[in-house]
Structures are given as C-alpha cells and as structure tokens.
C-alpha cells in the first residue's frame, strides 16, 4: 500500500515539475529561434551574398577575357569586311542593268521609227522617248509592240504626237512624219 502511495505521489510531483519547466522550455526555444534567425541573417549577408558577388566578378572577368581573345583591330576590320559584303550585295541587287535598256529598244523598234532622245531613270524605272515615226499608223504599231513586251514593260503611253511636214523652197510638201514622245514604265 505504501508502495502505491509513493507512485501516486511521484505522478503528482511530475505534474508540478512540468508546470515549472514550461517557461524555461519556451525561453530555450525562443533563444534557439533567435540564434537561428541571427545565423541565417549572418550567413545570407556575409556568406551567400559575398559568394554571389564574387561569382559575378568572376563571370565579368571571364567575359572580358573572352572579348580580348579577338584583338580589337581584327574585330574592326572584320566588321568593315562584313559591312562591305553586305553593302556590295545590296547595291548589286538593287542596280538596274542599264545596257539592257538599249538592247530592249533595239529589239523592239520598227525599222522606220527613230529616236532623237532617250532618257532612262532608274529611280522612277521609266524610259522617256522622243522619237519620229513615218506616220500615225506606224506609231500605233510601235506602241503596240511596247505594250506587248510585258516581260519588261508594265505600261506604255504616248505623251505627245504631231505630224511634221517638210517643204521645199517653193513650199511644196516633200515628206511628212510624226514626232512623238512616249513614256515606258519598266517592271522591277
């Protein structure tokens, strides 16, 4: 019986001890939390942050080293060379083959039609013709030929046309012809 009583007393004593130990445990826990927080801060501020900064410096120096691996004068002359290649290609692609204009006119002109003046404008892609045809019929045929040359010409139009009559000293008609101007719009 005495044994049972002692056990009961012991159990009761435990409860008292627990009540007394809680504030201490909370304090120890808070202290651990505080130390851990402080540790995290110090680690982040002086450890991780410093490490990342040193990594950034390292990568920066690697980039510098990489840039220096090709000398500056070589880079410059290479850029000029590339720009030249680029511009040469562009200029040659955009350039109109002017001699082909004359070849075209030669191949597409009726025998009795003559040109007094020809102006080719590469920016406007036009050919302005100042010519003479023996008569209006021939002029119409000539314009039809231009209009049918669809691979080169997109539009052919007459600007002005007028009959010219040459007279001899006595005023008799010697010959007549038609003076005209025409505009040919070229295809790109």
């Amino acid at each position: 019986m005495a044994f049972n009583k002692t056990l009961l007393e012991q159990e009761l004593k435990k409860g008292e001890e627990l009540q007394v130990g809680w504030p201490w445990r909370i304090m120890v826990f808070s202290a651990i939390v505080f130390i851990t927080t402080a540790g995290i801060f110090l680690g982040a501020e002086f450890g991780f942050k410093t490490y990342i900064k040193s990594q950034i410096t390292q990568v920066d120096s690697q980039i510098d080293e990489l840039t220096r691996s090709i000398p500056e004068d070589q880079q410059k002359s290479f850029l000029i060379f590339s720009a030249q290649a680029n511009n040469i290609q562009k200029v040659l692609n955009d350039r109109y083959n002017t001699p082909s204009i004359f070849d075209f006119l030669e191949k597409n002109t009726i025998k009795n039609v003559f040109y007094k003046g020809v102006t080719f404008d590469a920016k406007e892609l036009t050919i302005n013709i100042d010519g003479i045809a023996p008569d209006f019929n021939t002029l119409a045929q000539q314009m039809e030929i231009f209009r049918n040359a669809t691979s080169t010409i997109s539009k052919a139009s007459i600007g002005r046309s007028s009959a010219i009559t040459e007279k001899d000293k006595s005023g008799r008609d010697l010959s007549s012809s038609v003076s005209f101007t025409a505009v040919l719009k070229l295809k790109k």
């Binding site: 505080f34 982040a44 942050k49 720009a83 030249q84 511009n87 083959n97 020809v118 102006t119």
Partner: protein, 172 residues
C-alpha cells in the same frame, strides 16, 4: 519573449531585405552567366571565320576595290574618264555631290556612302555609248547609273550623253 521579438525584428529588418538583395544578385549572376554562354558560343563560331578571314586578304582587297573605305572621289573620276576614253568618248563636264550615308538596320555594320557624279559626255557613235555603259557596269569599283539621257545632235552623227552615276564607298 524578448528573443521572439528580437527574432521577428531580425527577420523583418535584416533577413527580408537581404533576401531581396540576394535574389537580385542571383538574377544578375544568372544573366551574366547566360551572357557569357552566348558570347562564348558566338566567339567559338566566329573564331574559324576570323582565322579564314585573316588568310583571305585577296578577298578583302577585292572588296575594298569594289567598295573603298573612303569616298576616293579622284579615283572615281579617273576611272570614269578612263572608261570614257576606252569607248572613244570624251567627258565635257563633271559635277560631284556627296550624298548622305545609307542607313542600316544593324548598328554594328555601317551603310554605304554615295558620291553622285553628273557627267556630260560627247560621243560620235551609238556603239560607243553602249560600250561605255557596259564598261561602267562591269567596272571593279561599283558604279550605278541612276539616270541617262542620250540625245542626237541635229544634222550630225554625234550624241550628247548626260549621265547621273552613283559611286559607292564603305562608311566607317
């Protein structure tokens, strides 16, 4: 209690801002690493090109003849005069204008500069004009005929040619 409050103060005032700053630095590091990787890949690809570029001095010379690195106006005039003479034509007058450099999309590669040459030329035959134009077209330095007016002088077999030619150069 003091420890809890202290922890809270450390978290709010120190850890949170440090975490924010560290996050930014991590972002910066990642960007720099990516940049390095990009540079390296470009340079690794360019290195063989640079090596062959250095050995292609003849090609560089050809490019510089086609598109000189400065306007070289006297050279352009001399070449056109030589081409006219070769086609039995004579230059009566030349007007020269330097035009603005053609802009490029790329900021690294410069565009081409233009010199505008207006020429008045006399010719005694139509064939000479054609031959001259052919020579201008195939000249090593690139010329581009922008406008040509050919007119026959009255009661003669001679022609007057007014020519507007662009000569190009590489802007730097």
């Amino acid at each position: 209690m003091i420890f809890f409050i202290g922890s809270l103060i450390i978290y709010v005032n120190f850890i949170k801002p440090t975490y924010g700053k560290t996050d930014l630095l991590r972002g910066e590091l990642e960007t720099k690493r990516q940049q390095y990787a990009d540079y390296k890949s470009v340079i690794d690809r360019l290195k063989p090109v640079f090596e062959s570029f250095q050995s292609a001095s003849q090609l560089q010379q050809s490019f510089s003849s086609m598109l000189p690195t400065n306007p070289m106006v006297p050279q352009a005039v001399a070449q056109l005069n030589g081409l006219a003479s070769a086609s039995l034509m004579s230059i009566n007058s030349i007007n020269i204008n330097e035009l603005a450099v053609v802009s490029q999309k790329s900021t690294l590669l410069k565009g081409a500069g233009i010199i505008d040459l207006n020429l008045a030329i006399s010719s005694n035959s139509y064939e000479s004009i054609k031959s001259f134009l052919q020579n201008v077209e195939s000249n090593i330095r690139i010329f581009d005929v922008k406008r040509i007016n050919v007119s026959k002088r009255d009661n003669t077999n001679s022609f007057v040619v007014n020519l507007d030619v662009y000569g190009y150069y590489q802007a730097q």
